[in-house]
């Protein structure tokens, strides 16, 4: 119990520091931080598949985009008239679009997972990629329904009205940052509870040795499908935040570039860790910005940086930091021990 409290305290401290980050910064940095948090949720959801399940999925971007598109299509209303070529004007409020987008992603995740989770390894990755590409193609081509390549424009700002409470309107990166922070904290809490549950332990057992876990009576397919659906739903949550934040969504959001970003964030940060993907998202957003000192070379440098990091820290940055810290602490303890002996 005591240990749990200490843990909780750390997270509270971390959240407090995170909450203090955008204070006093200009909107540009606030925007980057907000983007980081949204992408961190997305990376965490991808980490469930890659890190905790130990499987490949190259189709995760589809769920991110589906979440975003659901918002886009359901929230358009009279206010967006003239700004969108779509004939839709459903004008659903936030409390309705949120469950809708999560539900769409959960169903999509369940269906795609059900079909493709019989595969393993690279094959699973490519079959999910196939599904994602099909969804992407349909989004581009069925423009009477999706807005085509120009995307959905004129998504109303995030506005939550609950009875008895003042209306919550988030129209600036600064205010959206705290909303995204709440979502991120929820996601981290949810995943940490999940991994500590019986379900999470079963997943880890499956990751370590699927045959043995299956022999012990773990229904691999059922667990994988469940986890895949959860990951898809969380990706939808990230897409939800993304869509309301930028207030505009294009097929890029479910295209292959968002697969690359997920892969980069999770692997650079550290697969199978709770905070690795968050660090990965930070790096993914901020490092290309740091390279803005040379606008034309920034992606060249970013590509090179990716290679270098993965060669020297193939486990990702977060686990390497932990082990570095380990060594540091150990050495200090050793030194202390020696000093202690000398003083005796």
């Amino acid at each position: 119990m005591k240990k749990y409290n200490k843990h909780l305290m750390t997270y509270i401290v971390l959240t407090a520091i995170a909450a203090a980050l955008p204070l006093g910064r200009d909107v540009y940095v606030q925007h980057l931080l907000t983007l980081t948090l949204i992408l961190a949720i997305y990376a965490l959801s991808y980490n469930i598949i890659v890190g905790y399940m130990g499987l490949f999925s190259f189709g995760h971007q589809a769920f991110f985009g589906l979440g975003g598109y659901t918002i886009g299509l359901l929230s358009l209303g009279e206010a967006s008239a003239g700004r969108s070529a779509l004939p839709l004007s459903l004008a659903w409020p936030v409390w309705a679009t949120l469950p809708a987008s999560l539900l769409v992603c959960a169903i999509a995740g369940y269906v795609i997972g059900y079909v493709s989770l019989q595969m393993r390894g690279v094959y699973l990755g490519l079959v999910t990629l196939g599904f994602a590409m099909l969804i992407w193609m349909a989004t581009i081509n069925e423009r009477h329904f999706t807005g085509g390549v120009s995307g959905v424009r004129g998504i109303p700002p995030f506005e939550l009205t609950l009875p008895g409470l003042p209306t919550l309107e988030l129209s600036s990166p600064f205010s959206f940052y705290y909303f995204a922070l709440v979502l991120l904290v929820f996601t981290i809490y949810f995943i940490s509870r999940l991994t500590k549950s019986r379900f999470g332990r079963a997943l880890v057992a499956l990751r370590e040795n699927e045959e043995r876990a299956s022999a012990l009576g773990v229904d691999a397919f059922k667990y994988y499908l469940m986890a895949f659906t959860i990951a898809a739903t969380l990706a939808g949550l990230a897409g939800f935040a993304y869509s309301y934040y930028l207030r505009y969504i294009t097929p890029t959001a479910l295209g292959i570039t968002f697969l690359w970003s997920a892969v980069i964030m999770v692997i650079i940060g550290g697969t199978g860790t709770l905070l690795g993907p968050v660090i990965g998202a930070f790096i993914f957003v901020f490092v290309p910005e740091v390279f803005r000192i040379a606008e034309e070379l920034r992606l060249l440098l970013f590509g090179a940086a990716l290679v270098v990091v993965i060669i020297f820290l193939p486990q990702g940055i977060y686990p390497s930091l932990v082990s570095l810290w380990d060594r540091f602490i150990l050495r200090r303890q050793e030194r202390k021990g020696i000093e202690g002996e000398i003083s005796k």
């Binding site: 490949f56 690279v122 094959y123 892969v263 650079i268 590509g303 990716l306 193939p314």
Partner: protein, 288 residues
């Protein structure tokens, strides 16, 4: 039914398919031997096409000389990539995922490097074969015939080399069972280096052959890499003959589907087939 148009589509489909096959075969080599997906394969292909086009169209170098230089640079890039990017992480845990990211980083790097060196403007090459004949109303372009002839020859040589030469057999052996390959005394690291070199040569060859047909720019790699994935998977891992057949079929099916069914979904056919094959025949269509 307009038969001339049908024949035209078959011709275009097959020549596109030849390009897919030629490109994919290098992916098949790497995927077969190392079990990894080389995302940067498209950029090897791009480097081949760009170096060749730049030398021929901008510098006025002789075709053959340009091709040789492009091949040489391609081999160097392939071997260096293997040495500097893949080998350092070989055998580490999560090797497959790590190489996926490392080669992704490499592909970003190479595409942007090419932009810095040559600019992103497309380079167009005309060769002495860039002419068109129209037997029976079907447009047959000389460059496509060259693609068929040289591409076919390269694929045939590759198959012969793979099945006849000791080195080719070593490559196959490493693909089939890495541990016993080491136990019979095969130097795995050397085989991997050769495999990577070979794959990049094949990518460069396909780049050179495609340059006069498709024009070259630094971002042409990602356009074909997904086709390569489809071919690799549908054919079955490490299956060369299958990859050639599937590549040709993919081009053909896309052209015919685009002509007679729905042109905007022609790309979907490949993915649909890939999904179905993986679900019902996961070892690939052409199991040897």
């Amino acid at each position: 039914m307009d038969w001339a148009l049908f024949a035209q589509q078959v011709f275009y489909g097959l020549s596109n398919g030849m390009a897919y096959a030629l490109f994919a075969i290098g992916l098949v080599v790497i995927f077969g031997i190392l079990g990894i997906i080389n995302v940067a394969h498209g950029e090897f292909y791009m480097m081949g096409a760009m170096i060749f086009s730049w030398l021929v169209a901008i510098q006025g170098v002789n075709l053959v000389v340009a091709a040789v230089i492009a091949l040489a640079v391609g081999v160097i890039i392939g071997i260096l990539s293997n040495r500097l990017v893949v080998q350092p992480i070989y055998g580490k845990p999560s090797f497959v995922l790590a190489t996926f990211l490392a080669t992704l980083g490499l592909s970003i790097f190479l595409a942007n490097l090419a932009t810095v060196v040559w600019g992103a403007f497309p380079i167009n090459v005309t060769t002495p074969f860039s002419l068109v004949v129209r037997p029976g109303g079907i447009a047959i372009a000389g460059d496509r015939i060259v693609l068929f002839v040289i591409g076919g020859a390269v694929l045939w040589l590759l198959m012969q080399w793979m099945s006849k030469s000791l080195l080719g057999k070593q490559l196959q052996a490493a693909a089939q069972d890495a541990v016993s390959a080491r136990l019979v005394g095969i130097n795995l690291m050397r085989v991997y280096a050769i495999g990577f070199g070979l794959a990049s040569v094949l990518a460069v060859v396909s780049g050179i052959l495609m340059a006069p047909i498709w024009t070259s720019n630094p971002y042409m790699g990602p356009l074909v890499i997904l086709k390569g994935f489809i071919v690799t998977i549908v054919a079955g891992m490490g299956n060369f003959r299958g990859a050639i057949i599937v590549g040709l079929l993919l081009g053909l099916v896309e052209a015919i589907f685009g002509q007679y069914v729905a042109v905007q979904y022609r790309e979907a056919v490949g993915y649909g087939v890939m999904i179905l094959v993986l679900l019902f025949k996961p070892e690939g269509l052409f199991r040897r």
